[in-house]
């Protein structure tokens, strides 16, 4: 039994540039719906921020089923960016989100730079949105499908266009499917991103040996969950040492211990993704767990641990 702590609760608020969060625990895009899905299971106001499912200008139907497969300590998804589109998002989803007393970050995606810019412009006029997260893992349709997320110049161009279209804080979400993620992070930083978040999913695949078909109708999908945590942590550490804007750590985070690893590696905040599926209480538990850790370490603020990894043995 630990003695009851008499210390005041540690400071948990952090800033991602101009975006101020009450605590560093966010929910990741695509894993928390539009928030309302969890209303019975999660105390939404305890979230540092809630990042909504990626929104495009027009509604998208998504990919044909099957869309998900379980893998060892992970899952593959090929949802295909199904979403209600900008208008229905604003009119059907934002009213609820405005009530939940958490920071709201809208994840945006497009097939061209213009689409990203237009999304940013329109969302800037909507009350209750605290920031934008740019999902650059989509292929650029105009440039023949080359992904924004793997070519630094393209990531820079999207970032710049969005920054010019909004005065909301802008987070650029990086793909891990690159040789050197720090180059992508620098491109985002130099183009004015207020923060970077990483990682999005790793591209993976699974095959049904009985039917000899892929287990996903889309053949390939995005790998997420605890399986990818070591890769995500390594990339966050590399990026945090490279850029001077804040870094948001994502990838396989399911416990306070996982989250603290990312904070020590240099992340100012974390996003909880797949864990929301198998344990909806995860984000709240992580928040409580970080506080308990800070108390045990005698730290009065979460800032006292961010980036404090000791790399000399």
């Amino acid at each position: 039994m630990e003695p009851l702590s008499t210390a005041p609760p540690p400071e948990m608020n952090i800033s991602l540039g101009p975006l101020h969060l009450a605590n560093p625990v966010m929910t990741a895009s695509g894993t928390f719906g539009y928030g309302a899905e969890f209303i019975n299971l999660v105390d939404l106001k305890r979230l540092g921020a809630l990042v909504v499912k990626g929104i495009s200008l027009e509604p998208r139907p998504g990919n044909p089923p099957p869309r998900i497969v379980e893998t060892s300590c992970g899952m593959l998804n090929a949802i295909g960016l199904e979403n209600v589109g900008l208008d229905r998002f604003i009119h059907q989803k934002m009213p609820f989100l405005r009530t939940c007393r958490s920071r709201i970050i809208v994840n945006i995606l497009g097939d061209s730079i213009d689409e990203y810019a237009l999304l940013a412009e329109k969302l800037t006029q909507v009350a209750g949105i605290d920031g934008l997260e740019i999902n650059i893992s989509c292929p650029n349709v105009k440039k023949g499908g080359v992904a924004f997320g793997t070519v630094p110049e393209m990531a820079a161009a999207v970032t710049l266009a969005v920054k010019n279209a909004t005065d909301l804080p802008v987070i650029v979400k990086l793909s891990p499917n690159v040789t050197d993620v720090t180059v992508m992070a620098k491109a985002a930083e130099e183009s004015g991103a207020d923060a970077v978040s990483l990682i999005n999913t790793l591209i993976g695949m699974a095959i049904d040996i009985h039917t000899r078909k892929p287990k996903l109708a889309n053949i390939i999908g995005g790998l997420s969950g605890p399986a990818i945590k070591p890769i995500a942590l390594r990339m966050v550490w590399q990026v945090a040492r490279t850029v001077s804007i804040p870094v948001v750590g994502i990838g396989g985070i399911g416990t306070a211990e996982d989250a603290i690893e990312f904070l020590l590696a240099g992340a100012s905040a974390v996003q909880v993704g797949t864990a929301n599926f198998y344990n909806p209480a995860a984000a709240e538990q992580i928040c409580t767990g970080i506080e308990a850790y800070l108390n045990r370490q005698g730290a009065s603020s979460v800032h006292e641990i961010i980036g404090t990894l000791q790399t000399t043995f």
Partner: protein, 260 residues
């Protein structure tokens, strides 16, 4: 509509046949609000492998204290459940999804195949207790007799008329249970079905043809069960995707494209 993440306690694991196990779970929060056709997402292990919860229909709900699920062993998640012992914890999320609409007062037919029988017992126990409801016909199909012995007794206790079919002919009709439906359909106001997709496709076809209302409980692989991941899409009518966990698992047969 309230949903809970609840650590249930296993009260009993009854082996109904080689492959069918019935778990009785102390889960007062979920049991109190569960309605027929809804499901729970169960954590099938205590480690991160397997990672995802598995969906199970609510098979019965008792006095707002306990609920039952019927488990057919398919892979490692269901095997884990079948090996649980009384006293063990089992994390559940539920009740989830849209259940059956059992407000009908005319006579009904419940037709279940294999593990699809699971949600129908809860439904049978909730059918309106008006006089007409003696006119509840239940058609139960399975591979072999062993799976049906206990279950058909229970439907009978709820006042239903039970007919059975088995693939091996060991009980009732030798063949598909859906073969028995045409004879039963006339006079039925509504059909409720759950079972293999092919069986439900036949049932839905017969009902649509005869212009009889039909509700079917569908399956899809699920990550969340909450409408958040959008993983459980199926082809709905009107060229849309429906999400089994949120729009279903129970659908009006007309909402679905049965052979996409």
């Amino acid at each position: 509509m309230r949903e809970y993440q609840e650590n249930s306690i296993v009260q009993a694991v009854d082996r109904l046949s080689d492959s069918l196990h019935r778990l009785t779970l102390f889960a007062p929060q979920i049991a109190a609000v569960a309605r027929p056709g809804q499901f729970v997402m169960a954590s099938c292990g205590t480690t991160l492998d397997p990672l995802l919860r598995r969906p199970f229909s609510i098979h019965q709900s008792f006095a707002d204290v306990a609920l039952q699920i019927l488990v057919k062993v398919i892979g490692r998640g269901t095997r884990y459940l079948s090996e649980l012992r009384p006293g063990a914890e089992l994390s559940l999320i539920g009740p989830l999804g849209r259940g059956f609409h059992a407000t009908t007062t005319g006579s009904v037919c419940l037709i279940g195949g294999g593990i699809g029988i699971a949600p129908l017992l809860f439904l049978a126990s909730h059918l309106p207790t008006s006089p007409e409801c003696s006119a509840c016909t239940v058609l139960l199909g399975s591979q072999t007799k062993a799976d049906l012995i206990v279950l058909s007794e229970e439907f009978i206790q709820f006042g239903c008329q039970v007919h059975t079919a088995t693939d091996d002919g060991s009980l009732g009709h030798h063949g598909y249970i859906s073969n028995l439906l045409p004879a039963v359909l006339p006079g039925v106001e509504k059909v409720f079905t759950c079972g293999p997709h092919a069986m439900m496709t036949t049932v839905a076809g017969l009902c649509l043809e005869a212009d009889i209302a039909c509700e079917a409980s569908l399956e899809a692989h699920m990550a969340c069960g909450l409408g958040a991941c959008l993983g459980c899409a199926i082809h709905g009518s009107g060229n849309t995707y429906k999400h089994v966990c949120k729009h279903g698992p129970v659908f009006d047969a007309r909402e679905i494209i049965w052979n996409p």
